[in-house]
Amino acid sequence: MRNPLMRVFTGLLVVLLCSSFTLAQRGQRGGRGGNRPAAPSVPHDPHDLSGIWRGNPQTLSNQPPPMTPWGQEQFKAHIPSYGPRAVPPAQGNDPTGKCDPLGYPRTLFFGRPFEIIPISGRVLQLFEWGRVMREIWTDGQQLPKEPDPKWLGTAVGKWEGDIFVIDSVGFDERAWLDHFGNPHSESMHLQERYHRLDRDTLEVTLTIDDPMTYTKPWVSDKITFRLQPNERIREEFCVPSEEESFNQGVRNPAGGVVNK
């Protein structure tokens, strides 16, 4: 009796594995998941991060640390269209629905490619979404002690062995941390550790230290980006007037909201 049952379960497992593979392929074609495999790995310089990279991490990890009362208040005020609290975009208040800047690190989580461009005294990150350019200062300057908040913050970087470590402060708290409406405060300190494991694989770990929002640091999963050797950074703006037209013609009626 057990053996036939085992065969059924094993068969089911095989089918589900195949279907997951199909969905993964679909995501790749769709561009949003877009983690296409690159060419076979070859020797690489671990201190050279240049190239176009793509992944679709969406957030740091599935489970944020417990939030402070202030953090919980922000979280409740954020009504996302992704994840377990998702509502139709027309009924939510995701800043991206009006083409407001995603801010950082949400820009990194958005699923579009980005290019790393090392130049003298800086490393540039050029993100396809909005063609946003982030500067990471590598000229030895220190982080500002009382930074004015910016959408992307202020970032400095240095090498620790084969890991490029970026520390950033001074973030505008109007930006959501991720698609799921997790918040951050202006006093967030973000550390990113970039490790090129092989020619085609960039592994990033993020740590958010934001005592105003979270009761302990939030350490991400190991997030993987894949080299896109035949890709280029395209023009992809979120255009407010076009987004408004889309909201009126499609998003609002689709989401059950009557246009005013």
Partner: protein
């Protein structure tokens, strides 16, 4: 031993069943009934190559002659370009006045709006969604 293996298999099946759903749960899909593909025949009114969502507007006339204005949420131009289509090709395909049969997943709220899956012109040419919740193959 066999029982342990059974537990492992059951857990694996559970996880594999959940993960695609979780992946499918993103902003655009939540407004539409993704369980039921609908197909309607109409006439192209306008194609909008706009960021971050392109859109198709088309009119559907019923047997009594009543016209209903439909719209379709389509991919971002960047994704369409990445799939190998140009803006010019898209406008050439969706010419105002062309007869078009559109398939997609309709708004959960009953509005004549779909997230786009496929369009077929009268001459048989097709254009399919290039990813996202509307993609069907």
């Amino acid at each position: 031993m066999k029982n342990s293996l059974m537990v492992v298999l059951l857990v694996a099946i559970g996880l594999l069943s959940i993960s695609p759903l979780a992946l499918a749960h993103h902003g655009t899909g939540i407004s539409y009934d993704l369980s039921k593909l609908v197909t309607v025949k109409g006439v192209v009114v306008k194609y909008a190559w706009s960021n971050p969502h392109s859109q198709l507007y088309f009119d559907v006339t019923d047997e009594k002659g009543s016209v209903e204005h439909w719209s379709a949420e389509m991919n971002a131009p960047g994704n369409i370009e990445r799939a190998g289509f140009t803006r010019r090709q898209m406008f050439d395909f969706f010419k105002p006045g062309s007869e078009v049969t559109v398939s997609g997943f309709r708004s959960k709220y009953g509005a004549p709006v779909v997230v786009f899956s496929k369009a077929v012109l009268a001459d048989g040419r097709e254009f399919k969604s290039q990813g996202g919740p509307g993609q069907i193959d």
